[in-house]
Symmetry: C2
Subunit: 278 residues, 2 copies
């Protein structure tokens, strides 16, 4: 089932909607699934809302950990939602999922319609994440929980680290800020959830650390997740006058050295769980 609400003028999705990006999101979700989803399992029959499901990269892992839930997966992009539906139909054909096309700020569901809300890599794209969280709290029953997972590009550091590599990461942060988002939102989860009226807010860092002793992460995270994410904003960064082709390409080449022998890479995600007070 797919439902609709009229689209709301949303923040442009800074990473774009290409096939390459969909592949990147799939790689990222697979590599990070255990790190990000550990500890999140909802009882069978729970009414769960995934707000901002995108192409379904996290939806697949959510359903793998909680196969018995009644899931509503919502996204502002009809195209992403169609991809998510195709992905989940293939990966979890027996899952009970309602697909909803609409903006998470104006969901048409009654107050308290859900037992749990799950939001992953969504707040970073919202101009006012506290308002988004407040809108989600409305559809969460008193006593229900919200789980929020976000990254923080300011947590990225690596060896060797060069000024050019650091600048390329900063371009992504600036472009996302220019689009009304916040690539540093991870560090703000505790105050954001608190100010949106949630209680029992618990935030924990989930750190990806990569060195030569962890070849699967070198490939899955540094090479196939982080570097491509930064590289994907090349055209935008050039168009915005933030950099030159030479400087950007040198930054990407330097960043790739963190995936070579002797290199290391560090990135912190934050996972928050909070309760809608009774």
């Amino acid at each position: 089932m797919t439902t609709e609400t009229s689209p709301h003028p949303a923040t442009p999705y800074v990473h774009g909607y290409s096939d390459t990006e969909a592949q990147r999101l799939g790689d990222q979700a697979d590599t990070l699934a255990e790190l990000l989803h550990a500890g999140t399992a909802y009882p069978g029959g729970s009414r769960v809302l995934e707000a901002g499901c995108g192409v379904g990269a996290q939806t697949a892992h959510l359903l793998a950990a909680s196969p018995g839930v009644l899931l509503t997966a919502a996204d502002v992009s009809a195209e992403s939602l169609a991809q998510a539906r195709a992905r989940i139909t293939a990966a979890a054909p027996t899952a009970r999922v309602t697909w909803h096309h609409g903006d998470l700020h104006r969901l048409p569901f009654p107050d308290g319609a859900f037992d749990h809300v799950f939001v992953c890599f969504v707040l970073e794209h919202l101009p006012d994440p506290a308002a988004g969280l407040a809108a989600l709290r409305r559809v969460l029953r008193p006593g229900g929980t919200i789980t929020v997972i976000e990254g923080d590009h300011g947590s990225a550091f690596f060896h060797p680290e060069t000024p050019a590599a650091r600048r390329t990461v900063d371009h992504l942060v600036r472009l996302q800020a220019g689009a009304g988002g916040d690539a540093l939102v991870g560090r703000r989860l505790h105050p954001l959830l608190t100010s949106a009226g949630f209680a029992d807010v618990t935030v924990r860092p989930r750190t990806v650390y990569v060195d030569g002793g962890r070849p699967a992460l070198v490939e899955g995270f540094t090479r196939r997740t982080f570097v491509p994410m930064v590289e994907a904003v090349r055209t935008e960064a050039l168009a915005a006058g933030l950099t030159t082709p030479e400087d950007f390409d040198r930054g990407i080449a330097d960043l790739r050295r963190a995936a070579e022998p002797g290199g290391t890479f560090h990135y912190t995600f934050f996972k928050a769980v909070a309760v809608n007070p009774r």
Copy 2:
């Protein structure tokens, strides 16, 4: 017992040797003891070397976790060693400790004299940490382990974050580099240990994340460990022409906001364990 080797021209200890600094080191060690020492317990009778014991802040926790070891605690500063000895005599009067005054690069012990080596917050002060590790490997028996714990100031990020606050942290990194050290050494532990000839190198991040839901860490880490560490280089940073009194003090004030309601703070230590190959 205290032994001596002739002192070697060492890197100046960037944090200084004041009573305030000794207190800070004690606060830091107590707050972080569980995080840093978890997983490190040596069997009774093991010959353990703590290289760079300083004022004994970590020595106390090492002996608490491994009370039966035969510990040799070495430091290049006679004054620090005397403080360490006083501290341990009070805290662990039955511990079997040999105090050695000397440089870790030129320890007078035979090859393979120790079963285990423990090094905490020491490599960051060495001009050539790989050479220091190689010197320690010489006194470690084949099959023995080395444990290395270091911070990485590039891992520090916080909310709210201002340019002035970021600059004050960077001053500390630059001053330590100017003194021949590396405040970003944590991210380099894997390649350093590998290049020094150790095998089975395993490095794990140990992250301190602080928000309003963790008041003991707000006090013990953000307010009493990190901010004072940065603040302690005020005179040096001014003398080096890195900053003005106004800018430095604004940076410290901004940094303190991370310990106010709604603030968050993040710092990653790295803990490595490696083996001297047989």
